[in-house]
C-alpha cells in the first residue's frame, strides 16, 4: 500500500484504559468530585481518630452524663458520660472497615461468578443465576439479620453477613456487561485467534467492565455502611461498649424524649458518609453508562 496516513484524527474522546475512563468520568461530573472529597475527609478523620479524638471513646464519666453540646464536649455525652464526638470518630473506623472489606469480598466473589457465568452461558449460566435468584429472594436486611443471629455479632461475622447480601447483586452487576461485551466481534476475534477462555475473560472482558464494577462498588459501599448501621441499630452490631454509629443511635433513641442530640449526631454522620458515596458513584455511573452517553 503506497498510501500513507499521516494524521490520525480523533473522532470522539473515549477513554482507553479503565483508569482513564474513571478519571474522565470524574471530570465530566462535579458531584463525583464533591462526593470523593467529602468521603476522603471522612476516611482521613477515621484514620486519625486515635490522634484527634478528644477523649477515649470508652471512658465513662458518671458526673457529666447526658450533657448537651458544650465547649468540652462538642457533640455532648451519652448516658455513661462518654464523649459523643470521640465515639463518632472511632465508630467511623468500624463502619468503614466493615463496609469496605465486605464489599471488596463481595465484588471479588460475586464479580467472578458473574463474569464466568455470563461468559460460559447456556445451562451453566441458567443454574448459577437461579442460585443467585434464591439468594436475592431473601430481603438483604433479613438475610443479614439471620446470618448475624446465627454466627453471633462480631466484626468478622458482620463482614460475612453483609458480604453475603452483596454477592448476588455483584454477580448480576458483572454478568450483564459481560454478556453485552461477549457479543461484540472482538471477543469472537479472540476466539478465532485461539485465545484461552481464561485469557479472554481476564484480559479482554474484565478491563471493559472494570469501571462499571468499581462504580457500582462505591454505591454498594454506601449500602453496606447503611446495612451495618441498621444491624447495629437493631442490636446485632459489634457488641457494646465498642462505639458503632448504629449502636449510638440505638442508645440515643432510648433517650429520645430528653436527649435528642444523642441520636442526631450519629444519624448525620451516617447520612454524610452514605450521601458522599452516593454522590461519588452516581455521578460516575451517569458518565460511564453507555445508554446515556451514546455507544462505545
Amino acid at each position: 500500500m503506497t498510501e500513507s496516513i499521516a494524521a490520525v484524527p480523533v473522532e470522539r474522546p473515549a477513554a482507553a484504559h479503565w483508569l482513564l475512563q474513571l478519571r474522565r468520568a470524574f471530570n465530566a461530573n462535579a458531584t463525583s468530585w464533591v462526593g470523593l472529597v467529602v468521603f476522603l475527609v471522612i476516611v482521613a478523620l477515621a484514620l486519625l481518630a486515635p490522634l484527634i479524638a478528644p477523649y477515649d471513646p470508652l471512658d465513662q464519666d458518671i458526673i457529666s452524663r447526658l450533657e448537651g453540646p458544650s465547649a468540652a464536649h462538642w457533640f455532648g455525652t451519652d448516658s455513661y458520660g462518654r464523649d459523643t464526638l470521640s465515639r463518632l470518630l472511632w465508630g467511623a473506623r468500624l463502619s468503614l472497615v466493615i463496609g469496605s472489606v465486605s464489599i471488596l469480598s463481595a465484588m471479588l466473589i460475586g464479580g467472578t461468578i458473574g463474569i464466568v457465568s455470563g461468559y460460559v452461558g447456556g445451562k451453566f449460566d441458567l443454574v448459577v443465576m437461579q442460585a443467585m435468584d434464591v439468594l436475592l429472594s431473601f430481603p438483604s436486611l433479613i438475610m443479614g439479620l439471620m446470618v448475624v443471629a446465627m454466627l453471633g455479632p462480631s466484626m468478622g461475622n458482620l463482614i460475612i453477613a453483609i458480604a453475603l447480601t452483596a454477592i448476588a447483586p455483584f454477580a448480576r452487576i458483572a454478568r450483564a456487561p459481560t454478556i453485552a461485551v461477549k457479543e461484540r466481534d472482538y471477543i469472537e476475534a479472540c476466539r478465532a485467534l485461539g485465545y484461552s477462555d481464561l485469557r479472554i475473560m481476564a484480559v479482554h472482558i474484565l478491563p471493559n467492565i472494570m469501571a462499571e464494577i468499581l462504580v457500582m462498588g462505591s454505591l454498594w459501599l454506601a449500602t453496606a455502611i447503611r446495612t451495618e448501621a441498621s444491624l447495629s441499630f437493631i442490636g446485632l452490631g459489634v457488641r457494646p461498649p465498642v462505639a458503632t454509629w448504629g449502636g449510638m443511635i440505638r442508645e440515643g433513641f432510648e433517650n429520645i424524649l430528653d436527649s435528642a442530640w444523642l441520636s442526631i449526631f450519629p444519624s448525620l454522620a451516617i447520612l454524610l458518609v452514605v450521601f458522599s458515596l452516593n454522590m461519588l458513584g452516581d455521578g460516575l455511573r451517569d458518565a460511564i453508562d453507555p445508554k446515556l452517553r451514546g455507544g462505545e
Binding site: E3, D185, E188, A189, G194, R199, H204, G295, E296
Partner: protein, 323 residues
C-alpha cells in the same frame, strides 16, 4: 480448478429459540440446512444472500466459532470439525476472520500494538522484539503508520479500524480468511480503499477468501466464484462471469436485477411481487422460494428441488433446471 483449500459438505446448524408470552414455544431456526461448497487455493469465494439467509452463520460454522450440528469441513484435507483442542488451536492460525463492524471488532481498552502482538505471544511466535517489528510491518502493509502501535481504537476512523482488523487477522500468517461483510459498514469512498487493500493482500500472500456479502457488485468485483443462499440453503453456485451472465435460479436473477446500478438508463427492476418475506424459522414447504418466485409451478410447492450439478463448477437447486 485449483486444488481445494476448503471443502464444506452438508453443513447444518439449527438454533432453538424460545418465543412468546404468556406461553413460550420453542421454535427451530434452520440457519444452515445442509450447505456444501468448495474454496480453491488462492481463490475468493463469495457467499451471497439477504439478511437471515445464514451466510454469516456459515462463515462462523466453518471456523467453529459456532459449532455446527452436522456436516464436514475439511481444511487442506484435515477434518476441522473433528479436531481436538490442540489441533483446533493450530488450525486457527491458518483460518482467520475479518468482521463487518469496525467499531465492534477492536477491544476499546487495548492498544493497537498489544492487539497485534498478542496473537503471536499466545501462539509462541517469535521473540518479543520480533513481534513488535512484525506488527509494525503489518501496519505498514495495511497502510497505517508505525505510531498507530501506541494508540487506542477510538483514535481511528472506521476505515482505519477496518485496516487494523485486517492486520490482526494476518498476524498468524493465515491461508484462509473469512471476510464477513468487510466493507458493508463503510462509506463508499472507504469501501473501495478496503477492497483494493484486500485484493493486494490476496495477490501478494496467495490468500483464500470466503467473502460474505449482500452486495452483488462487491462480490462480482472481488470473487472468482460464488454461492447464493436463501433461507439456510445454497440455491445456486458457480463461477462469477457465468452466474452474472446467465443466472439460472430465479432468486439469483431477482437479486441481480434488484441491485441498483449507477446508470439512469438501467433503473432497478421494480418488483411487482409483494408480501412478507418468509424467515428461516418456518420456511415454506417445497422450494423455500416458491412464495416469491415468478415461475413457481405446482411441484415447487411440494418438493424441495434436488441439487443439479451442471458442469464447469455450476450447480442449481431449481425445478426449472432439472437434468
Amino acid at each position: 480448478m485449483p486444488e481445494p483449500m476448503l471443502e464444506v459438505a452438508g453443513l447444518r446448524k439449527f438454533f432453538e429459540v424460545k418465543r412468546g408470552f404468556p406461553r413460550a414455544t420453542t421454535v427451530t431456526v434452520r440457519a444452515l440446512d445442509g450447505i456444501s461448497f468448495t474454496v480453491g487455493a488462492g481463490q475468493s469465494f463469495g457467499l451471497v444472500g439477504e439478511s437471515g439467509c445464514g451466510k454469516s452463520t456459515a462463515g462462523r460454522a466453518v471456523l467453529r466459532l459456532i459449532e455446527p450440528d452436522e456436516g464436514r469441513v475439511a481444511f487442506k484435507g484435515e477434518d476441522v470439525l473433528a479436531a481436538g483442542k490442540e489441533r483446533l488451536r493450530a488450525l486457527r492460525r491458518k483460518m482467520q476472520i475479518v468482521f463487518q463492524d469496525p467499531y465492534a471488532s477492536l477491544n476499546p481498552r487495548r492498544m493497537i500494538g498489544k492487539a497485534l502482538t498478542e496473537p503471536m505471544r499466545v501462539h509462541g511466535v517469535g521473540a518479543p522484539g520480533e513481534r513488535v517489528a512484525r506488527a509494525e510491518l503489518l501496519l505498514a502493509e495495511v497502510g497505517l503508520p508505525k505510531n498507530a502501535m501506541t494508540r487506542y481504537p477510538h483514535e481511528f476512523s472506521g476505515g482505519q479500524r477496518q485496516r487494523i482488523g485486517i492486520a490482526r487477522a494476518l498476524t498468524l500468517e493465515p491461508e484462509l480468511i473469512v471476510a464477513d461483510e468487510p466493507v458493508s459498514a463503510l462509506d463508499v469512498s472507504i469501501q473501495s480503499q478496503i477492497l483494493l487493500l484486500l485484493q493486494g493482500l490476496q495477490e501478494r500472500r496467495r490468500l483464500s477468501f470466503i467473502f460474505i456479502s449482500h452486495d452483488l457488485g462487491v462480490v462480482r468485483y472481488f470473487c472468482q466464484s460464488m454461492a447464493v443462499m436463501y433461507l439456510g440453503r445454497i440455491v445456486e453456485t458457480g463461477p462469477i462471469p457465468a452466474i452474472f451472465k446467465e443466472p439460472l435460479h430465479p432468486y439469483t436473477k431477482m437479486l441481480r436485477d434488484a441491485s441498483p446500478v449507477p446508470d439512469p438508463t438501467r433503473k432497478v427492476a421494480m418488483l411487482r411481487i409483494e408480501g412478507e418475506v418468509p424467515s428461516a424459522v418456518n420456511p415454506p414447504a417445497g422450494c423455500h422460494f416458491h412464495t416469491r418466485c415468478p415461475h413457481a409451478m405446482e411441484i415447487c410447492r411440494k418438493a424441495y428441488p434436488e441439487w443439479t450439478p451442471l458442469g464447469d463448477g455450476r450447480g442449481v437447486a431449481c425445478h426449472l433446471h432439472k437434468v
